[in-house]
């Protein structure tokens, strides 16, 4: 047995995060670890990685008791942790990042120096192993998110680990890159390395894992073995603790014909090249495309976060001149950006303050702009509760202590409190669990049911197919195709996202 966990318990203060979790991992096997956000997966991994100490319980590494005193001890014992939030130094080069802990040394006249040449040589090997075709002296800042993810994996391999823990490795990767990662995982498996694979993408977990462990609320709920007979449905039921008969909730309103937002020939070379589209009232309009196709950039240009070179934006048929967030909010447009930690939340602030932030103006007196504290606090609390956020306190708990799905709900609650006529969502369910996803879909439907519109930017085709009235596909800064709900066609959508276009097809 490579790794064995026995009755691991962990509490932070009063909060019990792990309530006695046991499982085992064998050499040359992949253990899939699934559960909702806040189920305790990350805490468990941090215990193995030497970042936290368990409150009680034991870990055995190759039969010997293992209680790491810190991350370095874990790493030296052969456990490599690949975090969800990447731990790279963006200002350093690729090879410097790879060897930041253990640079190859050479001795010149008795003085130990860094051996650059050896480092670069070894870096090339590692990069090749993960299929990353970049020069070792590139600055990490200039790499795409996918390249950084692969670099992080190369870094883990550089310590020749016996156990590798992947925490959501594919969120930044395209399908093609994910497939390459999976074949790498299969290679590692045949080399006898044991792996723990954490992901919300259950299809991936099922196809990769030899065993699957399901956690819920800090407890081990169920374990499955390959060939032991299980289905996606049974795993989801174990994770959520209830049946979810329909993953994408129904919505029966029909979009109206009047235009709410109209964008004409918007461009910012080379990322956005002449984009035109119309969002109707009461419509969920989806944007699909590969990472880098320009979807987020279109939204950011419209909202005034990035500048653009040409094009115009019409709101309710009128040309809009001032494009900035404050002006859009007063028109009733909200924008949930992709990066919730950097652009969505004040991480040190309470839930209440975060939810209130975008609506302060509408809860202030005309004279001296005094905030009506009671009104805004109760309104914020109500919105937060409507999103079914799980938290200890609305006014005393910093949002940094919440799990990803709950953080996203807080950002969403902030925007819902502004009572938007148009809500722009950029990857709203990235890296969050099934239950929270479902809650978010229901909130979107409720909003649209009340006559508002939604622009939904997503890399998950399933999500767009389940939620949208219309899907626009972007490819290299252009809209390459449009699909209406009754003619959604998975293959055609994928094709128009992937294919290199000879000519732009105007919408």
């Amino acid at each position: 047995m490579l790794l064995e966990l026995k009755e691991i318990k962990k509490s932070f203060g009063q909060v019990r995060v792990l309530k006695g979790v046991s499982f085992t991992l064998e050499a040359g096997k992949v253990l899939g670890l699934v559960g909702e956000n806040g189920a305790g997966k990350s805490t468990l991994m941090n215990i193995l990685g030497g970042i936290h100490k368990p409150s009680s319980g034991e870990v055995f590494l190759e039969g010997k008791a293992f209680a790491p005193q810190g991350p370095t001890v874990s790493l030296n014992s052969g456990i490599a942790l690949i975090h969800q939030e990447l731990n790279l130094f963006p200002n350093l080069t690729v090879f410097e990042n790879l060897f930041v802990k253990n640079f190859p040394r050479k001795s010149v006249a008795g003085i130990k120096l860094i051996d650059r040449r050896a480092a670069i040589f070894r870096a090339k090997e590692l990069l090749e192993q993960v299929g990353l075709d970049i020069e070792p002296d590139r600055i990490v800042e200039s790499l795409s998110p996918a390249q950084r993810q692969l670099l992080e994996i190369a870094k883990a391999l550089s310590s020749s680990p016996r156990i590798i823990i992947f925490d959501e490795p594919t969120t930044a990767l395209t399908r093609h890159e994910s497939r390459r990662l999976f074949s790498l995982i299969n290679d590692l498996r045949s080399n006898g390395i044991g792996m723990i694979y954490i992901s919300h993408n259950l299809e991936d977990v099922i196809s990769l894992s030899d065993d699957i462990a399901v956690l819920r609320d800090g407890e081990f709920i169920n374990g499955y073995t390959k060939g032991g007979g299980y289905s996606l449905g049974s795993i989801i039921r174990d994770m959520v603790g209830r049946d979810m008969d329909q993953f994408f909730p129904d919505r029966d309103n029909i979009p109206r014909t009047d235009h709410l937002l109209e964008v004409k020939n918007l461009g910012m070379a080379p990322i956005v090249n002449g984009v035109s589209f119309v969002a109707k009232k009461g419509e969920v309009l989806g944007f699909y495309g590969l990472v880098g196709a320009g979807r987020s950039e279109v939204a950011r240009c419209i909202y005034g976060l990035d500048s653009f070179e040409y094009g115009e934006v019409l709101w309710n048929g009128m040309r809009v001149k001032t494009l900035n967030p404050a002006a859009w909010i007063s028109r009733g447009v909200a924008f949930l950006t992709e990066d919730r930690r950097e652009e969505g939340l004040l991480l040190d602030q309470s839930i209440e303050k975060n939810v209130a932030l975008a609506s302060l103006g509408s809860f202030a007196s005309a004279f001296l702009r005094r905030i009506k504290r009671k009104d805004i606090n109760s309104a914020a609390k109500k919105k937060a509760e409507a999103t079914r956020v799980k938290c200890d306190s609305f006014d005393g708990q910093a949002t940094s202590t919440l799990s990803g799905g709950n953080q996203q709900k807080i950002v969403l609650a902030k925007w819902l409190l502004t009572d938007p006529k148009l809500l722009i969502l950029d990857e709203p369910t990235k890296g969050i669990d099934v239950g929270a996803k479902h809650d978010i879909y229901e909130l979107v439907n409720e909003l649209v049911g009340n006559g508002s519109s939604v622009l939904l930017i997503s890399s998950e085709l399933e999500e767009l197919l389940g939620m949208c009235d219309r899907i626009l596909v972007m490819n290299r800064g252009r809209i390459s195709a449009e699909f209406a709900k009754d003619v959604f066609n998975r293959e055609a959508i994928l094709e128009s996202a992937l294919h290199v276009m000879e000519e732009a097809i105007g919408a």
Binding site: G13, K53, S55, L345, L346, L347, D348, I371
Partner: protein, 325 residues
């Protein structure tokens, strides 16, 4: 008992105040003349302008900025205001009118320098440290050049009385400092712009996307800070009975030290009016006590440095989240 005290200390944000009280009691016993009416008044009058200037600085630091130009603001307001009021200037206003004009001009100078700082930080996107370092050099040089390095005397009596006059038995400097603290407290805790100041300091990107008028918020803070510095200049000028181009030169580090010791974060988003008051109290007590012991200027600097370091360590220890086990 000890454990309870310790827990209270851990939770409370008044730790600097406790240090002040402790220091005050200890010094009263060991230093002759520390606990005397005269010294207490002296302390109070030194404290008030410093409180006013530090409150302004707190607002700027809450946005994640810093204003190094406060000392030059004090100097320039002092000489410009004094030259309007001085009977040597030959403007020939009636004394009480010229007092009003003088104070008005001083506040306008402060606001103008704050505006320059704020606009450079927001619209030109320059780092606050660079902007205010250069405005500090420029305006302090300007003040010396304007006056040819001479002090300005013969200010009207009505102006000089400001530092000694009382309003219902409360000295005017105390009234002014209380007023500034109340205004700052009101703005920071009850108004939209107060929430915006904290939001900008915590995360500019989040604030902007959430509809906060980031530039306006930051500029307002610099203008407020400039006006506070000018108000400090009014009190200093009145008490010294001169407009001086080198006024306030030594207080920059005291002000920033006081704000930071109070607990306001250098990175923005965290800080309170109350904290800054405690910080200023601490620095002033320290200065005053060490002076009375009769230490040399250099020894005072050494002790002050050590004590501030000690206070900062206490603060950091308190801040560090206890490692859950």
């Amino acid at each position: 008992m000890i454990a309870q005290l310790k827990e209270h200390y851990q939770k409370s944000d008044n730790s600097i105040l406790y240090l002040c009280v402790l220091y005050y009691i200890v010094m009263s016993f060991i230093t002759p003349g520390f606990f005397s009416l005269g010294n207490n008044w002296n302390l109070l009058f030194n404290l008030m302008p410093l409180v006013i200037v530090s409150i302004g600085q707190t607002c700027v630091m809450l946005t994640g900025g810093i204003d190094l130009s406060i000392t030059s603001t004090i100097a320039l307001s002092s000489v410009v205001g004094a030259s309007f009021m001085s009977s040597d200037s030959g403007l020939g206003f009636n004394p009480s009118v010229s007092t009003f004009i003088g104070i008005g001009v001083m506040l306008v100078v402060g606001a103008a320098i704050g505006l320059v700082n704020g606009v450079a930080v927001t619209k030109l996107g320059m780092p606050a440290f660079m902007v205010t370092l250069t405005t500090m050099m420029f305006f302090s040089g300007f003040a010396v050049w304007l006056t040819e390095s001479q002090n300005i005397y013969n200010l009207p009596d009505s102006f000089l009385r400001i530092s000694s006059m009382s309003m219902r038995d409360v000295p005017i400097p105390v009234v002014a400092a209380l007023g500034v603290m109340l205004i700052a407290y009101f703005i920071l805790n009850t108004t939209v712009i107060g929430e915006w100041i904290y939001a900008v300091g915590l995360n500019v990107k989040v604030a902007r996307i959430s509809g906060v008028n980031v530039d306006g918020t930051i500029i307002s803070c610099y203008v407020f800070c400039g006006v506070c510095a000018a108000l400090g200049a009014v009190l200093y000028t009145s008490r010294l009975e001169t407009g001086s181009p080198i006024m306030g030169q030594n207080i920059l580090l005291d002000v920033i030290g006081a704000v930071v010791i109070g607990g306001t974060s250098l990175f923005g988003g965290k800080g309170k009016v109350k904290w800054t008051l405690f910080g200023v109290l601490f620095i002033s007590l320290l200065d005053n006590g060490l002076n009375l012991i009769g230490l040399s200027y250099f020894l005072i600097m050494i002790v002050k440095g050590l004590v501030i370091l000690f206070a900062a360590i206490l603060n950091v220890l308190k801040e560090r989240p206890s490692l859950a086990s």
